[in-house]
Point group: C2
Chain length 311, copies 2
């Protein structure tokens, strides 16, 4: 039996999975992401954790195909990261470092791109080699898979769906420094921001306390006809549906997989997006499919494992 | 010496090039596109022309690598065209038909995608394997090359840059049936349309006759400070620059090559686009390069030849 590791580095924890070479998840665990000291310990912590697991399971080095690693930043195909703000890294060489600490083959990708590959191999995108994943979380991540391979881009920065400009008139700044990014309307943070704006227009709300409203709460309130939530959902859906239609005109994918915390609101998300997708899509792209992520938080480790297993 | 043919099918003429296997253009010619009778003669006319050239040049069949064909419609990788409005075709099988009429290997692509490949191999994109070509003509064509290969899409409809929605408030319809497509502002037709609208706002014009104004005339008038032309150029540049920034956020290319009739206005086009590209682009994509097409009308035949030569 052959094995590989899928390692998804996040800002708070690193998720690691031990997989069979058939992409079956055998065991998964997490270690904290030590961001202090410019994140200098992150890769050695990962190596220690993987080396311990290899010992614990008495796995021979020869039976390990390699380690796939997802990083929350643009990363070049050679494993070089110029800057990963979430991790404190500058000029990190992920492949070289992890290879020297484990003696194993290492492959890397952006975390959102890896998640798309995971959904293709074992999630909602199974059966398709051309899919786009959109992760609606605190921010928006995107991953594009074409003919079964991740589209990385020359700077390792392809698939930045959250930073498409969708509103030229926005005056509030996105975290990236631009104004009017999709992330400002369709991420969990963006949805709550819009809902709070709409509350001043539609103060009659079903909420007794609107301080700690989450994006999921907003979509639940849509089902209860909360006026501000209804308006927020339409704004969310029009910006996201139009953006996906534009993306389809460029990439012509088979499936869009929607993941991240916002997708926990369920099929209402797909119903909303589909309505505006139909309005704004080019005729040749009308038959695209939409699906909710089935791997959820594990999409990353599945995808990372498949960076190694796909070749 | 080995040879191949590049065949670019347009609505009025078919351009054919005889190439060496080093992608050097040895000879080029055109035949009319017979669109009558649902375009039934187009492929046999092409086969006759190629077969005659083979005889004329006394080229042996063994020394011909194949025929690459560009079609002005979505076309699947197997050569199937569901509908090509410009040619009158429905359910055409380009590879099967041309192969049986010539006995040669045939490969196909959408014409705009092929042009992008041509610019990569012998034009302004030389040295890059990741480029996007935008053809600003009567309509807008687009072609995306990733790692040296055309991005076709599942329906053969990738790269439809002209049908990205850039203005949600547009009420006038695009030829595709939607409203607010990039083509309505940045194609030659779109530029003239906007200019005529702006003339009603800025009637003081340098033109003595505004009936037959072309897109190139509009950009020439910019240099003479014509108020309506200046405003038109800004509208053109903001929509196109923002669209290219959004495309870069998705694909992360190295170069954008601008072609088509509008590009004949020269470097003013790149200056205008760059201004708004900088405003709307994600930080990771700021170092993208812009170039004017150097192959011009021959980009298509070069690209078609390279459909065959790239493998």
């Amino acid at each position: 039996m052959k094995y590989c590791f899928g390692t998804d580095i996040g800002g708070t924890t690193v998720k690691i999975g031990l997989f069979s070479s058939d992409s079956d998840l055998l065991e998964k665990w997490e270690i904290p992401t030590r961001r202090d000291k410019n994140g200098i310990n992150i890769l050695s912590d990962i190596a220690d954790s993987i080396n311990s697991k290899i010992k614990e399971k008495c796995i021979s080095h020869e039976s390990i195909v390699g380690i796939g690693v997802g990083v929350p930043a643009p990363i070049k195909e050679n494993g070089f990261v110029a800057k990963a703000a979430n991790l404190g890294w500058e000029n990190a060489d992920v492949i070289k470092t992890l290879n020297s600490l484990t003696g194993l083959i290492v492959k890397t990708a952006n975390d959102a791109n890896a998640a798309a590959l995971g959904e293709m191999r074992k999630g909602s995108g199974q059966g398709s080699k051309n899919l786009i994943m959109i992760t609606l979380g605190t921010g928006i991540g995107g991953g594009i898979v074409v003919n079964g391979k991740i589209l990385n881009g020359v700077n390792g920065a392809a698939g930045e769906i959250g930073h498409i400009t969708v509103n030229y008139n926005e005056t509030e700044k996105c975290g990236c420094g631009k104004c009017g990014c999709l992330e400002q309307y369709a991420s969990a943070t963006g949805i709550v921001r819009i809902f709070k704006e709409q509350l001043s227009v539609f103060p009659n709300t079903v909420f007794t306390n609107t301080n700690d409203v989450s994006a999921k709460d907003v979509f639940d309130a849509v089902k209860n006809n909360d006026p501000a939530a209804l308006k927020t959902a339409e704004i969310f859906a029009e910006y996201l549906g139009a953006a996906l239609a534009n993306i389809a005109a460029l990439i012509d994918p088979e499936v869009f997989v929607i993941g991240g915390g916002v997708s926990k609101a369920g099929n209402i998300i797909i119903d909303l997006i589909s309505k505006y997708y139909s309005k704004y899509s080019f005729f040749a792209n009308r038959n695209v499919k939409f699906a909710l992520s089935s791997l959820r938080n594990d999409a990353g480790i599945y995808g990372c494992a498949n960076l190694i297993l796909q070749d």
